[in-house]
């Protein structure tokens, strides 16, 4: 069933009786070619691209809860490709290009809004670093633009330019960055995958892996055993918990990241804005709420809720760049669990167990990566070798010394 303006008109005239559920609820089969563990954004995107781009049909996506109940529904919806290192930037730029064509590609309104992202800088040294990053972005085919304080004063007059401690000297714009309706991404990929024959099996928790002679032959689940030629784990946030069942220790710690939303306001913030001297980022949803967040709490957690010191720190960051935010009332806050990796960058790789694949370690940047993560993981699963933009996202990179450490803080996950 294709969605179109004509279709909405026809359904409107016929009492909206023609809409059908957009994916099936199949019983799990005894065997699949590929079983994807995790029905979040990345898992569903992987299934979608496997079916659409790589011609695989016999695929199941296993989801412990309901579809999209993890981080795809808990993030702050930002898309961007303003990274610097060669192991990252081409990958994220591919992701941004996929976002740009996504709604046409899967025929679903994901409300992709390229309303721009702005990283503020507050010192000469920070300007130099941002110019360097902008050059790296442009070398990878992304757009980047340095704006000085005068230009920002004209565009964003509400910022606290003359803050005594952190005056705003300018910023790095990526105009193609923006926000996306996050749940719709999961729904759109699920619908597209289901239409191509992928079985999406909800309320099906993987309880163990069948590993014989160094080869993974299937999974044990809360709905019975399922055999598979390839098992692709894609459960960022719970990677430690799931891969432990395969006897693996990962270069990952799980941390909690909080997010916040205010009451709905008239349009006040045109794009995404980030603070350069502390950790704070904010955008305004189409409903009007200011959606913002900051640092992770900083200690291992699987609890999906954080503590008050970080709430205070985030609020201070907001007040430092836009004092008007102090007038808005906070409606809700929540937490999500991040796979914080040892260098702040993700993994899309085979494991040492034949037939078992791993995608995770997305830190707090997994949402923007969803399309490219799915595409590159599908590429790896279908062809047995990494996609050209994901060749460095290896699990063994700490052994070989090929870290992708954007911030340069070393193996301290809570600082990335």
């Amino acid at each position: 069933m294709r969605y179109s303006a004509l279709r909405i008109l026809r359904e409107g005239l016929t009492g909206n009786k023609g809409w059908k559920p957009v994916w099936r609820e199949p019983e799990p089969k005894a065997e699949y070619d590929i079983v994807i563990v995790g029905g979040g954004g990345h898992g569903l995107a992987t299934a979608y691209y496997l079916a659409k781009e790589f011609g695989h049909k016999n695929i199941a996506v296993l989801e412990k809860g309901w579809l999209g109940s993890g981080n795809i529904g808990r993030n702050t919806t930002i898309i961007r490709s303003n990274y610097m290192l060669p192991g990252n930037e081409p990958f994220y730029e591919m992701s941004l290009k996929l976002w740009e064509g996504l709604e046409q590609d899967f025929n679903y309104n994901a409300m992709v809004s390229q309303r721009s992202i702005l990283n503020l800088y507050h010192s000469d040294a920070q300007r130099d670093a941002f110019v360097r990053r902008a050059n790296a972005m442009m070398l990878a085919g992304a757009d980047a633009e340095i704006a000085d304080a005068d230009q920002l004063r004209a565009e964003l007059p509400f910022l606290d330019f003359d803050n005594a401690r952190f005056p705003i000297k300018g910023g790095l714009f990526q105009r193609r960055g923006g926000t996306v309706r996050h749940d719709a991404v999961a729904w759109g990929y699920a619908r597209g995958a289901d239409a191509r024959g992928v079985d999406i099996i909800q309320n099906c928790e993987v309880t163990g892996f069948d590993i014989e002679n160094g080869r993974c032959t299937g999974v044990q689940t809360s709905r019975g055993a399922i055999r598979a030629k390839k098992v692709a784990v894609c459960v960022a946030g719970s990677s430690g918990r799931v891969m432990e069942k395969a006897g693996m220790r990962l270069p990952i710690e799980s941390h909690v990241l909080q997010a916040f939303v205010t009451e709905g306001l008239k349009p006040v913030i045109p794009g995404v804005i980030t603070f350069g001297a502390g950790h704070f980022y904010v955008s305004q949803s189409d409903k009007g709420g200011l959606v913002f967040g900051g640092d992770i709490d900083g200690y291992n957690s699987y609890a999906q809720r954080g503590n008050l010191p970080v709430v205070e720190d985030v609020a201070e960051g907001g007040m430092a760049i836009m004092p008007m935010i102090g007038r808005a009332r906070l409606l809700r806050s929540w937490g999500g669990i991040m796979d914080m990796s040892m260098d702040g960058s993700p993994f899309i790789d085979k494991t040492h167990i034949e037939g078992l694949y791993f995608n995770g370690g997305w830190c707090y940047g997994g949402f923007k990566a969803t399309p490219a993560s799915g595409f590159c993981y599908a590429h790896l699963l279908a062809k047995g070798e990494p996609h050209p933009v994901a060749t460095q996202m290896r699990l063994d990179r700490f052994m070989t010394g090929n870290l992708i450490d954007e911030k340069g803080v070393g193996n301290q996950p809570n600082l990335h």
């Binding site: 918990r241 220790r249 990962l250 990952i252 291992n300 699987y302 010191p309 700490f398 052994m399």
Partner: protein
């Protein structure tokens, strides 16, 4: 979170800095045959359990002692707090 410091009593966790898994106390032997593999595991691989977790906290805004805190990562409940010095000595380290 409140950390019940063995010397100072209950203190706000915001006074502390978090380092990570308390296995970081057990530095491998640099002279071992497989020292490279051991240091890779020590530096980069983590158990990352959902449940009881022994971890190192540093009382930066206080007495600057290192603590080993046993905390449930699914509830944030702290069940035991020890001086890291005592833990390390109990494991055979000289300090």
């Amino acid at each position: 979170m409140i950390i019940n410091h063995p010397l100072l009593g209950p203190r706000d966790a915001a006074e502390f800095v978090y380092l990570g898994d308390a296995s970081l106390i057990d530095r491998p032997d640099w002279e071992a045959e497989d020292a490279a593999a051991q240091f890779h595991a020590y530096g980069y691989l983590r158990d990352n359990p959902a449940g009881a977790h022994q971890e190192l906290w540093y009382h930066e805004q206080g007495d600057r002692s290192w603590l080993v805190v046993t905390r449930d990562t699914t509830t944030h409940e702290i069940t035991q707090v020890e001086l890291a010095r005592d833990v390390a000595r109990a494991r055979g380290r000289d300090r």
